[in-house]
């Protein structure tokens, strides 16, 4: 591997360290690892090749035999721009979200990937200053035509921090199902759905005997899987994950990743992650964002193995970010 020093020439990065442009400072230098010579090894992620690989952590094996045979478009953004006040966070992004695959949004901090994610279930509207232009479609219908609560029950979301509600494990999973209509469903009716959701989230074996225990007493990784179960219980078509493992230890992370991979046959998954290795482990398709622009979007093997855009190449190669 060849190391070489390279003056920073990235657009918009000149004042990154807060130094006024006029001050004569020596040019920032950084080390760029030549991406072409040693790309992150993801060739084995290309479809129809060997799907199982050992995770470095504890040798936990992620079985990727669950590759769905079909891929169907669920959501689409068309020229989507989002600005907070005068600051444009997402610029003219057009993106497809398909069921049957995991889409990873990668990019350095502040590149707009979380804003893009939060716009898909209109959570970004909670920020009063946020302005959106462009269209977002769910199954061909504009998300603005939906009642927002209905939209969010179809597009679930998982957050950086595990955030179970201060109630029992059962009540957490049943939360989304209750109070949907005028009649409050009885516990008996909810039980099969709750059990099914916990099974799909891979948590059932650990909590089956203590469904009435407080959810906040679970470990961080279990809490995050409980949050997955809570989202799955309302049968969403799309699941948005906002750096779901950033607060977790490596073993919990591996279990969550396994869960994500096993779920993609039933829901379309969009995951925002800082962690390139994680993206390469779970994603079928990868979108690289930089300063609000969608720089590149393609199959994971292609983006990691043979990125087309220069900026993607540098980011993947560890040049910045």
């Amino acid at each position: 591997m060849e190391l070489k020093q390279d003056p920073l020439s990235m657009n918009g990065n000149g004042d990154r360290n807060g130094a006024p442009a006029a001050t004569p400072v020596p040019p920032l230098r950084r080390i760029v690892i030549e991406a072409e010579t040693e790309p992150i090894h993801v060739a084995d992620r290309i479809i129809d090749q060997e799907r199982a690989y050992a995770d470095p952590v504890d040798g936990i094996l992620i079985d990727q035999e669950t590759e769905p045979a079909w891929v169907e478009q669920r959501m689409r953004t068309e020229a989507l721009s989002i600005a907070y006040g005068g600051k444009v966070a997402v610029k003219e992004v057009s993106l497809e979200v398909n069921s049957g695959e995991v889409l990873a949004l990668i990019g350095p901090s502040g590149c707009g990937k979380t804003t893009l994610l939060r716009s898909l279930n209109r959570l970004v509207e909670l920020t009063p200053a946020a302005k959106r232009t462009g269209r977002i479609l769910l199954d061909g219908e504009s998300v603005d035509d939906f009642d927002v609560t209905h939209l969010r029950s179809r597009v679930g979301m998982l957050f950086q921090q595990p955030n179970p509600f201060p109630m029992s494990i059962f009540d957490n999973v049943a939360y989304g199902l209750r109070e949907r209509g005028s009649k409050r469903p009885r516990k008996k009716e909810l039980e099969p759905i709750v059990v099914d959701a916990l099974e799909r989230a891979g948590l059932w074996d650990e909590v089956s005997n203590n469904l009435n225990h407080p959810a906040l007493a679970l470990s961080g990784g279990q809490q995050q899987r409980l949050c997955i179960a809570r989202s799955l219980a309302v049968s969403p078509e799309v699941l948005l994950l906002d750096e779901p493992c950033s607060a977790l230890d490596p073993i919990s992370t591996a279990i969550i990743e396994e869960t994500i991979v096993s779920l993609r046959s039933e829901v379309a998954i969009v995951i925002v992650t800082h962690n390139l290795q994680q993206a390469s482990r779970v994603a079928d398709r990868v979108a690289f964002m930089y300063l609000g622009d969608m720089v590149e979007c393609g199959a994971a093997g292609q983006v990691f193995g043979a990125p087309m855009a220069e900026r993607t190449k540098e980011y993947i190669g560890g040049g910045f970010g």
Binding site: T149, H150, R152, N163, F165, Y175, R230, L240, A247
Partner: protein
Amino acid sequence: MAASPANPPLSARKPPAKRPPAKIESSWSIMDRVGLGLAWAAGISMCVIAALIVGYMAYKGLQYVNWEMITTSPEASLDQSATGGFLDPIIGTLLLTTIGIVIAIPIGVAVAVWLTEYGRPSGLARAVESGVEIVAGTPSIVLAIFGLLIFQQSFMGIFSFTAEGGAVFGRSFITAGVMMSLVALPMIIGSTREAMMSIPRHVREASYALGKDKATTIRRVLLPSARSGIATGATLGMGRIAGDTAIVVILLGASMQITPEEGPGGLFRGTGSTLTSFVYNNSPAGEGNAPEKAYAAAFVLLLIVIGLNAAVGLIGRRNKPQWN
């Protein structure tokens, strides 16, 4: 950048010369030492004052307090406080505290929810905050006299006793309780607000992301999460109500006995006393001049309030949801 003698180029710089070993000397000035000593003394004196209050009241109170005193009513004689016990004031304290807190909790929680979850337009929110601060800062004697003004209006007659000429008495458990709720309200609002604000934003968003509206989120997630904060505020408020004297003296009538009115809810429309008014009336400052009873009742009151404060500590520590 040009190299100057004061700012030589990096290559010309030398490592700093070895320094002589530091002499051990204190950097504390005499003023700092005096200040620190005063801070210690002030802290310790608080412990001493608290111990003196509790110790002296226990010493005095335990001399006089006995089972009979706690279980008998004050006697309705000319010198009514000198004979009999103070069962009625104990019941009065519990009743008045209950009425006040039952009125204050829903209003206080509602105000806190509005301030934290809605709070718009912001001008109105600031006005609400100022209102809370003014109520919190109003002396209870002013609240009491204001209450008397309100509850003596003829249309307020249902809350107390109306004399034959149509004059409204304005004094009863319910009127005193309503004004007492204003004493507890700022405590509940403050404590609930703090609890609501300590819930991370992503917990609210998790509920919205499951397709729940704001009302459901508040009712099912936020209020249960803030439960210990609400309980803390309520308990603090109860302590304030139990310890307030001015409102009782002005709005609960002068008789030591609980005297219900006739008709439904007569107890609430009737007058009575609490431990605070009993202590006041029996102290040398009041008319009873039975200081031993005042000490005994004051001791019981102190126990109740210390118990409530201990409960605050327990509630605060338990049941508080913790997210990472």
